[in-house]
């Protein structure tokens, strides 16, 4: 195993963790079935190719720290990469303000809710603005953590068509 993505998942589980490496195998008839281990919980991996596995994180109410994350091709012999996976309480977003912004971008859009974890600094922490009435590709903007109930993202510009974005 060389890397995995993401490094965090919600406590209710179900996060698709992509594992990148090499020499992955799936030969059930020989007992070669990839697994992932999140702390002390083991789940079957989806074998995508010899270089990619996907594991869905199991539920875990312990959000106090990072858990070890390793993979195995037989459920017995595990990698020792030192990779970790952490859980955070599932956030809820109740409001976005303002809900109108100039097409030229630059508006500070605040998301209000509960249980926001502080992921600032990580490239995985961002807002995605997806046009709903044009074929332009979505744009992502880094998020700024304010506190556990507020996050801010600056709206992107450069929209040449469409007038509604799903955030």
């Amino acid at each position: 195993m060389m890397s995995k993505h993401p490094h965090y998942g919600v406590d209710v589980g179900g996060t698709a963790v992509e594992v990148i490496g090499y020499s992955f195998l799936y030969k059930a008839e020989y007992g070669i079935v990839p697994h992932c281990r999140f702390g002390d919980k083991i789940v079957r991996a989806e074998f995508d190719s010899t270089v990619r596995l996907v594991c869905y994180s199991p539920p875990n109410s312990d959000i106090s720290g990072a858990l070890t994350f390793e993979v195995s091709l037989n459920g017995v012999d595990w990698t020792t990469t030192g990779q970790t996976f952490s859980y955070y309480k599932e956030p809820t977003i109740t409001k976005v303000s303002p809900d109108a912004a100039p097409a030229s971008g630059g508006t500070e859009v605040y998301l209000v809710g509960q249980n926001f974890p502080n992921m600032e600094g990580g490239s995985e922490f961002h807002c995605r603005f997806s046009p709903t009435n044009s074929k332009m590709a979505p744009k992502t903007m880094a998020a700024q953590y304010i506190n556990s109930t507020a996050i801010m993202c600056v709206s992107p510009g450069g929209w040449t068509e469409g007038d509604r974005m799903k955030l």
Binding site: P6, Y88, P91, A100, P102, L111, F125, R128, I151
Partner: protein, 104 residues
């Protein structure tokens, strides 16, 4: 919104974009009896509480349509003899002020 780059929230909050093209007229009598100042563009909505600002004072628009915001033209604060420019701006979402070059 995602915290881990993988799991996105499913709330589907919408952000409506607007565009400000121009304002007209850009001058008027100092007694304020020149009619409304109309800001043209698109994507304007009354529910996001657009605002107008003239000479440092904020006013609520007197009318809002999808393609125009009508700002009141008050009498000049400097008096009826005033002749000159004052700043003019509109915030179509109540937050982001767009200042017009040359003011009003």
């Amino acid at each position: 919104m995602t915290f881990n780059g993988k799991d996105y929230d499913k709330n589907g909050f919408m952000l409506v974009l607007y565009k400000i093209d121009k304002a007209f007229p850009r001058s008027g009598p100092s007694d304020g009896l020149g009619g409304d100042i109309v800001v043209y563009g698109q994507g304007f909505r009354p529910e996001v509480n657009p605002l107008c600002r003239l000479n440092g004072t904020t006013y609520e628009p007197v009318g809002i349509k999808w393609n125009e915001i009508r700002c009141p033209m008050p009498a000049a604060q400097q008096g009826l003899e005033f002749f000159g420019n004052v700043e003019f701006a509109v915030a179509a979402n109540g937050v982001d002020w767009k200042y017009f070059d040359g003011g009003f």
